[in-house]
Subunit: 314 residues, 2 copies
């Protein structure tokens, strides 16, 4: 495991590469626009160029031994490709892992970005030293990646942790998935924006000049925007119910919250923590820890790097 690896976070708009040392630290970085519409061959060439640029950064002639890459879902990690990805249509069905492996002459692992972020956090971040952990993405969507006894828990069809579309209120608002009152309708960025805008209008206030996003609401809640705080308080309570349910079903104690809306920090997490006594057995609730990610954007890169080492070992 003394080799160097590259972790790649392939995003809808931007792609970030990191050269990761044997100690799990990122020592050099590359960034590029993703431009998936240019197709998989073009992307593979540009990633190869990024890897080449990183090669010189490994000290003492250390060599790059493997690469891990993660992307938004759905990802078929076994076949090493993306299946109809809404934000990366140009890459649909391309055998990305094999293409990268052949182009680079390295073992390559491909994984869903939330799962990679969870593995990064587990091995190098808030989950270090834990046995089990749930990583909860609260961004444009809401989902969770579950690590049990140090291993990713996938379920029967690799869809475990779809907490964003569990039901909080069967008579709640209509979600894009067709169900009502899903966790996402309380917690996902676009819903925070929608709820905030509705609250403003109900208070007779004009819409803000800038476009409102979930991150915007989170930022303004940190100021003195009372309505933004209320929206985050409600979101935090919904997060609390979802976390409590997972804690009771899975008997896992550490929940690490990441992605854009998580930047609201304790304005989101404190209301979630306050729900624990009300939504768990006392013996369970008092042990649940809801913590922010410590790796933020580095989580998917480090997790991909960890997967690269696994590919190397396999």
């Amino acid at each position: 495991m003394a080799d160097w690896v590259v972790g790649v976070d392939l995003g809808a708009t931007k792609t970030a590469l990191g050269l990761i040392g044997p100690d799990g630290r990122i020592v050099a970085r590359e960034r590029m626009p993703t431009e998936a519409e240019r197709g998989p061959d073009d992307l593979v060439e540009r990633i190869a160029a990024g890897v080449a640029a990183l090669t010189g950064a490994a000290p003492d002639g250390g060599r790059i031994a493997a690469l891990g890459i993660c992307s938004p879902g759905p990802v078929d990690h076994e076949r090493g490709l993306l299946v109809d990805p809404p934000n990366l249509q140009g890459l649909h069905g391309a055998p990305l892992r094999t293409m990268l492996s052949e182009r680079l002459g390295l073992p390559v692992a491909l994984e869903h970005d939330a799962k990679a972020a969870a593995l990064g956090e587990f091995h190098y971040g808030a989950g270090r030293g834990e046995r089990s952990m749930v990583y909860v993405v609260v961004g444009t969507g809401v989902g969770a990646a579950i690590i049990i006894d140090g291993r990713l828990y996938r379920g029967l069809r690799n869809s475990a942790g779809e907490i964003g579309h569990t039901t909080l209120d069967p008579e709640g608002e209509l979600c894009a998935c067709g169900s009502r009152g899903c966790v996402e309708t309380y917690l996902a960025g676009p819903w925070l924006a929608r709820r905030y805008t509705a609250a403003r209008r109900a208070s007779g206030l004009a819409d803000p000049q800038e476009p409102v996003t979930g991150e915007w609401v989170a930022r303004h809640a940190s100021g003195d925007d009372v309505l933004a705080r209320q929206v985050l308080e409600d979101a935090g309570r919904a997060l609390g119910v979802a976390v409590a349910t997972m804690a009771m079903v899975l008997d896992i104690e550490l929940f690490v919250i990441g992605s854009s809306v998580a930047r609201a920090g304790d304005l989101l997490l404190d209301p979630a923590r306050r729900m624990m006594p009300a939504c768990c057995y006392r013996s369970v609730g008092c042990r649940v820890r809801i913590a922010p990610t410590v790796l933020w954007d580095d989580g998917p890169i480090l997790g991909s790097g960890w997967l690269a080492r696994t590919a190397l070992a396999g």
Copy 2:
């Protein structure tokens, strides 16, 4: 594995023993009152007498090789004892597994009854041939035992599957656990009785002559009692939400429903099934199967027998 084993279902009031053949069939039975208040030594003697009575029933001089026993919780399966069991106070802290093992000269396994029932159902009942399964107890209490890839999933402190005290409505009725709107307040037997009685009174009807229990409501719903049917319909919908949430978090497809309220059959299960499209991703919901137990009271005995074989192998 060609040996005979004994499975014991230690209940709050009655204890049932079964002699189980190599093919997983119960070929002889013994029953006795539990009378836990007489203490562990007395109980161990009476179980030993039951085992002796079963010994002759094994054909061809087959010998009994191990014993498995299950009881209501909380059970410390590692130390082999009951920890402050509400309905079996006389047995609190007694090293039941060791006592039985020394008295019988056999390997003994001790497990929680819901977990034993789940293992029975998985190996010999509705779960045969499956990879993963959740067994949901709907009786005086509500809980679940989770089997992942053929193994009991326990969680960090052996409390995984506590679905009965997850929250359906934070503003719902006050549960005995101190929280509001727990799954149990919609679904557990005593709550069905309470909700049914309240519905009768609200309709201006007198209370029934007999005491109303959850099983009573289930039985009368099978007749033409419209209020009982409505209570079961509501209970089934709550079960559906709970099952859907577990299906989304765990990505498990088979949910087997057992215990007293489950005797209502499709009057309970059909409303639960109808919730799947509304409370799951369509791709998940269409695969979820909600099935009744096929082993009923034999589940805990057969599961205990399976554990006995495991104790033998270990």
